[in-house]
């Protein structure tokens, strides 16, 4: 057990009795975390799901949960690409009603009405165990059946060199709709370890957009569970730009006939950034569709990881699953690891996957330059084009423009 994992367990010990919610669940999670430790952070057994990502740097960082914030949360919030829509703002893991704009959907704080949900597996996912052990706040949203809750922003701001474990549960009633825009940003060296779960009832539609723009020295771990019922849609897009190390893990279960899941993502990495996008899509009902395109742009000595798994159960006939991982390497020192997996027990399915890794296309470069466009500008046009195709998955123009603007700022930062 590393010092990092021990520090988390010691904190849990000191907080027993003061943490909200089911204490037996927390104790079980602590026991699971004690056994597993931080993936890659111990000399214990290797975890296949964390083959390409080691949390050793997390284990080696001393987080200071009681230190005063070193940065102005309000300033960070003002700099975010916010939409004119309700927002739930969390600063250093705690809900801030003064900075939030209440949604029309039913909202409750985890700190007041703790809800661990029903989909997570603390015994299987060490970081979920850590979250379950230490979660103090989060958002519970409930969209009533048939209701269109519009856009709700879920914002995480980190202003201290600490670790945060928000716990969110979002339930969409039958035939309801919600667009959830999650933005995470901050300053300093911190760990954001979020667990969120989504219950999407029959015919409901959840659009989930994420912009991860954490501080350059931050750690961002996010584990999402989605249960998508008959005729319902989970349409997600994740843009990972920040953090020295990030892991976006999604478990989507298509449990009702005709359910749809889109798990699209783009990761832009430079310097020594490491970003891991890991997904498991379970087709357990017939006639479900899953689509996944994950694009990586890798500069410097960065490393992008894609692990995608499609599981098709015996009864999930007429499954339509597609998975694509593409990487553009802008430097000879950048690295991508891609591991697509299919596990199919039904006999009438259409599943495909693929991966491409490449540099900029020489013919396209020559075409642009032959029109007078200088080399550096031509490169930037082609990289943006590669990303534009990924961002096209975001149907809402206003939201897509915000993401494009975030990509532009990322470029400006690289030039600086």
């Amino acid at each position: 057990m590393t010092t990092g994992a021990i520090a988390f367990l010691e904190r849990y010990q000191s907080l027993i009795g003061r943490l909200p919610g089911d204490s037996a669940l927390r104790a079980a999670a602590a026991a699971a975390f004690r056994t597993a430790g931080l993936p890659g952070g111990t000399q214990q057994r290797r975890i296949e799901a964390w083959k390409y990502t080691s949390l050793r740097p997390v284990a080696e960082t001393a987080f200071k949960p009681d230190a005063a914030p070193r940065h102005e949360a309000e300033t960070i919030l003002t700099g975010l690409p916010l939409l004119d829509a309700p927002r739930l703002v969390f600063v250093d893991g705690a809900f801030r009603p003064d900075l939030s704009v209440m949604p029309t959907a039913g909202f409750a704080r985890f700190a007041e009405q703790p809800d661990f949900g029903t989909l997570s597996w603390p015994d299987r996912e060490p970081m979920v165990a850590l979250n379950t052990m230490l979660a103090e706040d989060g958002a519970a949203l409930h969209v009533p059946a048939g209701y269109d809750a519009g856009v709700v922003q879920l914002i995480s701001i980190a202003a201290s060199d600490a670790d945060f474990h928000p716990r969110h549960v979002i339930r969409l009633g039958k035939g309801s709709q919600l667009t959830l825009v999650e933005v995470s940003a901050g300053q300093g060296t911190y760990l954001l370890n979020t667990v969120a779960e989504f219950h999407i009832a029959d015919g409901a539609h959840l659009t989930h957009i994420r912009l991860q723009d954490e501080a350059a020295s931050a750690f961002h771990i996010s584990t999402t569970y989605a249960d998508v019922e008959a005729g319902a849609t989970y349409d997600s897009f994740t843009l990972n730009l920040g953090a020295q190390l990030s892991r976006t893990e999604v478990h989507a279960q298509l449990t009702g006939a005709g359910a749809i899941a889109h798990l699209n993502a783009a990761q832009l990495l430079a310097g020594s950034q490491h970003a891991d996008f890991t997904s498991v899509v379970g087709h357990t009902a017939p006639g479900c569709t899953s689509r996944q395109t994950v694009k990586n742009v890798l500069a410097g000595r960065s490393r992008g990881v894609f692990q995608g798994r499609i599981e098709v159960a015996r009864d999930a006939q007429k499954t339509d699953g597609y998975q694509m991982n593409q990487a553009l390497l802008l430097s000879p020192y950048a690295e991508v690891d891609s591991k697509p997996e299919l596990e199919i027990f039904a006999d009438d399915v259409k599943c495909s996957h693929g991966a491409t890794v490449g540099e900029l296309d020489a013919e396209q470069m020559f075409y642009l330059r032959s029109r007078g466009i200088p080399d550096a500008e031509a490169r930037s046009i082609l990289v943006r084009a590669f990303l534009a195709e990924a961002l096209d998955a975001v149907a809402d123009d206003t939201i897509r423009f915000r993401l494009e603007a975030a990509v532009e700022r990322w470029w400006e930062r690289q030039k600086a």
Partner: protein, 249 residues
Amino acid sequence: MLDIRGLAASINDKPILKGIDLTVPEGEVHAIMGPNGSGKSTLGYVLSGREDYEVTAGTVTFNDVDLLGMAPEDRAAAGVFLAFQAPIELPGVNNANFLRTALNAIRRAHGESELDAVQFLKLARAETKRLAMPDDMLKRNVNVGFSGGEKKRNEVLQMAILRPKLAILDETDSGLDIDALKIVADGVNALRGPKFSALVITHHQRLLDHLVPNRVHVLAGGRIVRTGGPELAKELEKSGYAGLIAEAA
């Protein structure tokens, strides 16, 4: 004036051009004809600076500057334009943005002010109209989902907007129906003037009926084997290249 002397070039150590001598005075249109594999496209690529071709001998000067020492974008700024035989698709790149970026890059190189989106669209719409191209071609991604003819017209549109001093048209007529062919020829004819010259690479006499060249050169085996007036193209249409090549060998 374009002046090519003793130009030899190879790709992957395979010689393609084996000593080309060619002069295109300002204001003239010259046609390059010849059988497949004779080096016609290579000549276009070498003049526009494609890096996978290695120039092994010779010089190319354009308006008294050494073209071969320049990067492709600098050649474009100097006025060289290659209309690609197989125009490249650029998924995710909007055609109007691409054209404006290119025009502004060239204007910048000339110390001219850049055009904003509104100014550019006005110019571009006038040109698409003249080339009988639908307006939506500006909104689409560069060459993506374009038919063969649309791609060729898009090359002519780029040429019309960038206003080169030397246009190299690499089989811009291939795959075009007679109406499209006339539009392409008209596009080039519109640019003709004392400061404009063109090298028109073609297999067919047809284009040259509409775009009458000052001189016709026949390229075979990496060398120019014959040069003549516009009547040479008509003669080749009748007799083919076989006799000429045998004669030269």
